[in-house]
Amino acid sequence: MRIELVKRPQHSALFCALSPFLALGLTLVAGAIMFSLLGKNPFHALYYYFIDPLTGIWDPGNRWQLHELAIKAAPLILIAVGLSVCYMSNNWNIGAEGQFIAGAVVGSIIPVLLPGFQSWIVLPLMLLLGMAGGAAYGAIPAFFKVRFNTNEILTSLMLVYVAQLFNDWLVRGIWRNPEGMSFPGTIRFSEYAILPQIWPDSGRAHWGFVFALVAAVAVWFMMSKTLKGFEVKVLGQSPRAGRFAGFSQARMVFFAFLLSGALAGLAGICEVAGPIEHLNEKISIGYGFTAIIVAFLGRLNPLGIVAAGLILALTYLGGESAQIAIGVSDKAVRAFQGMLLFFVLACDTLIHYRVRIIRAPAVKTGEAAQNA
């Protein structure tokens, strides 16, 4: 038995729309098998993963959970929207985690070093600094790629470790709160440096989620309605054609990395100025890497990414509720997310190819065809 791919003359619109759902379905099946192997009732596990965090939709008592969902989804969507532009233009930025941390660190400069500076302008400055920090950190692999032809995958990833260690040093060293006992972390931000909540009555979701939605719509508009979006797609699919059209490959590398770096940086500063309220050593739960999955699950389309970001945020919350309710390890979340990306990539094959499963050896089918 072999599997043979037959290229479709045109990509299948049906599977284009269907493949993310197919992938989700397969992930649920694989997840159910995984939970059974762990000795848990798979239906209970999947209920706590995907339904329990959503009970807030109809139950006002649990409305806070929807806020938590928005809090988790905000950085995922912000980062993934930026990454989609990178991946569309064939720039493999996998260091969003580092740009996220860089944004958080640079954005924290004002509230940490100038705690006395209290004015309404502090927060906008922090957000701008966060974006600048993320963009500057993203510019490093871009510069190396353009100037020295260095592989951006490896440099952007190495910079993640550097950023994590640098942040760790800051919050345990020169930026540590002297009154924080021996816990690593900076002083708590003043009220002017805190990102306001959207509806404080029912939960603590902050404006980062709104930024994420705005970013998604803005990038969607850019990609589908402007020349810049066309440039991104042309240079990504055929650099040669792009050159003939007069588009600059080098400038596109910078554009993609600066944009995704800025959005990751914004996600970083929103995370520390929002739910965490100070800078510490564990500001990210792997958002930068999970956002890669979000970008692909959303089929690199900013609007699809909003939906994908909510789904991946759900797995984080579901992981917590499943751990509390039935004792499934919180480590299962990462395995779950990894499986999801695998299925997404596998299902995308159906868009461009028809898959045929051939039972008889190839030679015999050839003969049979001749005889017939």
């Binding site: 991946y87 190396f144 990462r334 499986m339």
Partner: protein, 304 residues
């Protein structure tokens, strides 16, 4: 003293060397597998788990190799049979490996480890200066050296090696010559997986004989960088791995001496060194162009 330093450098270099040699073969066949980190950590957790339950470190090593190879098959099936994007699939393999290993290894955290003992040859191991270095290290060290030369010989001195390189340089022509491109790539990917698994097993059975989540700490990525650094040549991988081993041991010694530089910044040195080395090596555009397997990362669907 000097001998001791060289031995510690060798211990730090061995996992990088093994994983990079495996990835070198994969890339020579034209496939870019970014999942080294994931295969490595899966090898580490399964090697440790099997050694702990059976009490035999050798069974652990064996399990690490098998699991690494099987895990790489997942990548192989997607990229070779379903022709998915190799970069994205490799990333997926790493994310899945890190997640799965954390889950599998949860009960293993804090368990006493089983160490693969260093070899001891009466008479030879006691030799001054060179005895411990040549006759008293862990068995995987010797495997790594033999592996490097075996791969160099295979790639450049055998017909099968030539076939593998031809697949990596021009899969269209290789296919036209009747070479089974996909089959060869499957074998190469599995060899890479087995090597990454062995490297992971080395970490949890020799380097620090215990299970710590994320214990590969980016070594899989450094191994990938080493392949580029070595411009796809096995003996240069050997040199590169020992250079990186020296950097990471150097920073550990500097931390122990307490020379006033914060430990986190010293820990960042191997990663910074990787970036610098990559930049220096890729500056020479012609050199990289000549050595890069021409079909690296390009999808292949046989026309019928």
């Amino acid at each position: 003293m000097l001998e001791q330093i060289i031995i510690t450098i060798a211990t730090a270099a061995t996992p990088l060397l093994i994983a990079a040699i495996g990835e070198l073969v994969v890339e020579r066949s034209g496939v870019l597998n970014l999942g080294v980190e994931g295969m490595m950590i899966m090898g580490a957790v399964s090697g440790f788990g099997v050694a702990l339950t059976t009490g035999s470190p050798w069974l652990g090593v064996f399990a690490a190799i098998i699991v690494g190879a099987l895990f790489s098959l997942l990548f192989g099936f997607l990229t070779l049979t379903l022709v998915t994007n190799q970069v994205a699939t490799g990333l997926a393999l790493t994310l899945l490996g890190v997640g799965l290993s954390g889950m599998i290894g949860e009960t293993l955290v804090g368990q006493p480890g089983v160490k693969l003992e260093n070899i001891y040859i009466p008479g030879l191991t006691e030799l001054p200066f060179v005895g411990k270095l040549f006759f008293g290290q862990d068995p995987i060290f010797y495997i790594s050296i033999v592996l490097t030369f075996a791969v160099a010989w295979f790639l450049f001195k055998t017909r099968a090696g030539l076939t593998l390189r031809s697949v990596g340089d021009n899969h269209g022509s290789a296919h036209a010559l009747g070479i089974n491109v996909i089959g060869i790539r499957y074998l190469a990917v599995m060899f890479g997986g087995a090597c990454a698994g062995l490297a992971g097993g080395f970490l949890s059975l020799v380097y620090t004989p215990q299970w710590i989540e994320n214990m590969s700490a980016g070594r899989g990525w450094i191994a990938l960088a080493l392949v580029v650094f070595a411009s796809w040549r096995p003996l240069r991988v050997l040199a590169g791995a020992y250079l990186f081993g020296a950097v990471s041991i150097g920073q550990l010694h500097a931390q122990a001496l307490g020379i006033g530089i914060p430990s986190q910044l010293l820990s960042a040195l191997p990663y910074l060194a990787t970036i610098i080395v990559l930049v220096l090596i890729s500056r020479n555009r012609r050199l990289t162009m000549i050595n890069t397997p021409a079909s690296l990362g390009r999808p292949f669907v046989p026309d019928r």
